[in-house]
Symmetry: C2
Subunit: 213 residues, 2 copies
């Protein structure tokens, strides 16, 4: 993909208001989108998240009612709820270090410095006080990744913050799991009648938002 195509994919993307409920994302395309979540970067590589892909129509209806009745929740081909950890525990850090050790074939003892650094920051350090916020931010990187990946594939998306996280947690049985809903992304194909598809993108001038020092 050359620069012109890249830019045009970014310009093509918009927050889809009305999805064509009859059009579904194919299994192979979905695999790429799923991997764009899995491969998203996160602080320390800790992946403090869970992505819940809701396919059950009954659950989708319940989520719609907890999302100001936005039709994207039920009409989109795929609906992903992003949930993040309420807190990071010593166990989480140990599990992550063990994963590093397994994947890279490095003895866990050799990763003790890394282990202690994360522990001192996220579990016992200043960031532990804002750990829920910290985890939520990471999920927004993943949100960016799946939306941009979709745009590259000419698949439409709509990010959703207008939802009741607590109601979502109840519907999705997240209570007691240590994960909480933070936001969602609907993915699929725009409806021919979505007027917003042709609306001009509203952006402040580049020189207002990008400053060079």
């Amino acid at each position: 993909m050359n620069s012109t195509e890249l830019l045009s994919a970014l310009q093509w993307r918009y927050a889809t208001k009305k999805f064509d409920a009859s059009k579904k994302i194919g299994a192979e395309d979905w695999k790429i989108l799923e991997q764009s979540l899995v491969l998203s970067p996160s602080s320390y590589g800790l992946q403090p998240w869970k992505f819940i892909v809701v396919q059950n129509p009954e659950i989708r209806s319940q989520l719609k009612a907890a999302s100001w009745n936005q039709t994207q929740v039920t009409d989109a081909s795929h609906y992903v709820v992003l949930a993040t950890k309420e807190k990071i525990t010593e166990q989480d850090v140990s599990d992550f270090i063990q994963l590093n050790s397994d994947v890279r074939g490095v003895p866990a003892e050799k990763l003790k410095g890394y282990h202690d650094l994360i522990l001192a920051d996220l579990v016992n350090g200043p960031r532990s006080a804002i750990i829920e916020t910290w985890a939520q931010r990471q999920a927004y990187i993943a949100m960016g990744f799946i939306m941009e990946t979709a745009a590259m594939m000419k698949i439409d998306t709509c990010p959703l913050e207008g939802l009741d996280p607590s109601a979502y947690d109840a519907i999705l049985d997240l209570k007691g799991t240590g994960f909480k809903t933070v936001a969602a992304v609907a993915l699929g194909y725009r409806h021919g009648e979505d007027g917003y598809a042709h609306a001009k993108k509203v952006r402040y001038p580049t020189e207002k938002v990008v400053q060079y020092l």
Copy 2:
């Protein structure tokens, strides 16, 4: 770009530890990266952010000292500080509605419903209590966008959270502007000696992080 190329770009990306200070991102490539920030989605499309591209080597040195001396701050070709609004005011909402009106040629009166909706949510509603956190989250979408765009262009990146936001605000003269530093992204080209470039990516198994309901 086909699905295989897309996936391989996502796998190619890693948090670059050591940049080759002699390699610079070309002006045309930079324009695309800059636009990937500008075109990033944000809640309501409100763009509660400012992106500061620091080119001055003296300022870069000062920022490095406020970033645990991470070499990426000074060695990367481009260094972008992401700053977000401390709060959203009625004026911000009016300005944004005026921008909508100008860009789309719709009289501002016709956008009153939209205006009031944002006001009731972000300025006077429940979200006003967490508005700083809300704005910061939006910046992480943009962080995701610029990192993924770079990966598509075979340009390396490293996101930085390990920095002292308050020291950054002082160095960048943000005090009193209503904007505060939230994080940064270094962009450029990996150094031939960055061992992490060939390290296996550490991810939990897909079935652990992606759940289907």
